[in-house]
């Protein structure tokens, strides 16, 4: 990987680069994340394959990882959105393959990707999943309670 170019990108979007074995992580603020991905696609075009988007509930924020893959390297763009207002622009216009991955994160962690056409309906969760229950991968989601709410017991 061209680490100089990556450093340049990091400086332009005000992010930080960290490396662990094969994976390189670029941490940016949520309002600059899209810009960072756009820069990766233009400056490091070999990283055009988006493997997936991972969301993790790190109370009080939700961390999002955009994993790009090329050859022996993973390049991950990491950002975080507050749990109280989990909104981030959708990347579908620059990365069409993000469509389903964003919808998955929205279902499981309740992050709203503004501009993604699938935000109004569910992709993974059953229609019977109670709307008042927290999304299932949030820390406060209690499987027992949700099961009772869904009248499965």
């Amino acid at each position: 990987m061209d680490s100089e170019k990556l450093q340049e990108i990091a400086i332009r979007v005000g992010g930080q680069v960290a490396k662990f074995r094969k994976s390189t992580i670029l941490t940016v603020s949520p309002d600059r994340a899209k810009e960072a991905c756009q820069l990766i696609l233009t400056e490091l075009p070999e990283f055009h394959h988006l493997s997936t988007i991972t969301g993790i509930d790190d109370d009080p924020s939700i961390t999002l990882y955009y994993h790009f893959w090329q050859g022996k390297d993973f390049l991950t763009v990491k950002t975080g959105v507050p749990k109280t207002d989990p909104v981030i622009p959708s990347f579908v216009d620059i990365l069409p393959s993000a469509l389903l991955y964003e919808a998955e994160v929205k279902d499981l962690l309740g992050v709203l990707f503004q501009g993604n056409p699938l935000m109004q309906r569910r992709l993974l969760l059953p229609d019977s999943y109670p709307p008042e229950a927290p999304p299932p991968l949030r820390k406060e989601a209690d499987p027992e309670k949700i099961r009772r709410m869904m009248e499965l017991e």
Partner: protein, 397 residues
């Protein structure tokens, strides 16, 4: 073009063995498909959440049960992610054994798919022959690991037990048999008019769209992209036993057929080469119960393409988060794109073309724009519809 999203008919809730049954809502204009809307998750079991309550080692067996076909790919992706965090050097013999089982699994998965293409196109003899041949591979897997499908064979730091002493002859015999049969199927498939007319030129999309939608595995390789995790980012013993990546450029179902047959033959070669060169030594190490704090990503080339695992350890015996992206999830958008412009009769073949877990095809709903009526159609009816449609067209010609 306007359609109403509430016309969605849910696809039957659970197929006990599979993770990924998709539901496709097809918007038709006459017989032509103009829009495809996928909806997945009907057997979403919350495995990623369940993993957060189990220990690292117990999860190996949980993740293996995600897929009833490529179970070994799941267990090695997960165990290798943990080995990255533990900074373990897996014994060389174990890495070779992992390669052998991975390739056997690829052979049986591809054969299963080839058989299904036969089934969906009404060529039932092909289906039965191929599934019989697949049994030979499953028997081999049983002889080595103790089980046909859920092998519980890979473990953190290696594999659970060594190869049986007398397996060499069986491996050589069966691999030779599968190779010969693959060669035969290659001639058979392309000399059979029904199969050719139902697969040639069907499901073709251009390279730019493919690149944007990021599909994985054979779906990517049949469009001329030579991408394979085994070669680009070698794991197990793929750095020493190097696969020859097969590609084709047509991007239709016929080229997928050819590609997968070629991959079966290549896998036979890899199994034999790995067995010839396998070093002696231990097959696993003693491992600590807890995994150090950190994050790791790992991907392997499952039979259907890149299978991705992300793990985060808080430093302890239980994972904080495990994220799994299965190949069908990545291929879903591409398969939807492949359907556009084709007729309803092509749906079973194109959707099978991406090699989804086949529970997906149980029921799809169809909306006809000009008649604005909607009905649900079962997989079996759709299969018959496809066969009849092509029969009628042949008779007209």
């Amino acid at each position: 073009m306007q359609y109403s999203p509430e016309n969605m008919v849910p696809f039957g809730p659970v197929h006990p063995a599979l993770k990924e049954p998709e539901y496709f809502k097809l918007i038709l204009e006459g017989e032509k498909i103009v829009e495809v809307i996928p909806r997945i998750g009907y057997v979403h079991r919350g495995i990623e959440r369940a993993a957060q309550d189990r220990t690292w080692i117990k999860n190996v067996y949980l993740f293996e049960r995600i897929c009833g076909i490529c179970s070994f790919a799941h267990s090695i992706a997960y165990t290798q992610a943990i080995e990255t965090l533990l900074q373990f050097e897996v014994p060389r013999r174990a890495r070779y054994i992992r390669l052998i089982i991975s390739e056997l699994e690829r052979i049986h998965s591809h054969l299963l798919w080839l058989g299904l293409v036969g089934y969906w196109t009404g060529f039932d003899t092909l289906f039965m022959w191929i599934w019989k041949d697949r049994e030979h591979v499953l028997d081999l897997e049983e002889a080595i690991t103790g089980n046909r499908i859920h092998k519980s064979y890979s473990t953190i730091s290696g594999v659970r037990k060594d190869l049986p002493d007398n397996i060499g002859d069986a491996l050589k015999r069966e691999m030779k048999y599968i190779e010969e049969r693959s060669e035969y199927y290659k001639t058979l498939v392309f000399s059979e008019e029904t199969l050719v007319s139902r697969t040639k030129g069907i499901g073709r999309i251009n390279q730019d769209i493919t690149k944007k939608l990021c599909p994985v595995g054979p779906l990517l390789r049949c469009n001329g992209f030579s991408r394979d995790v085994r070669v680009e980012d070698p794991y197990a013993a793929y750095d020493e036993i190097i696969p020859d990546v097969k590609t084709s450029h047509d991007g239709d179902i016929a080229s997928l057929l050819l590609l997968r047959i070629e991959e079966v033959k290549e896998s036979c070669r890899l199994v034999l080469e790995a067995y010839e060169k396998i070093p002696s030594g231990p097959v696993k190490l003693t491992i600590p119960r807890s995994v150090p704090k950190g994050e790791a990503m790992f991907h392997v080339e499952a039979p259907r393409g890149e299978l991705f695992y992300f793990i985060r350890s808080p430093g302890g015996t239980v994972p904080d988060r495990v994220k799994i992206r299965t190949p069908t999830m990545a291929n879903l958008l591409t398969a939807s794109e492949m359907l556009k412009g084709h007729t309803l009769a092509d749906v079973p073949v194109v959707l099978t073309g991406m090699d989804p877990c086949f529970g997906c095809m149980d029921r799809v709903s169809i909306v006809e724009l000009d008649k604005s009526k909607q009905w649900a159609i079962r997989g079996e009816e759709l299969r018959q519809y496809g066969i009849d449609w092509y029969k009628q067209r042949r008779n007209k010609n």
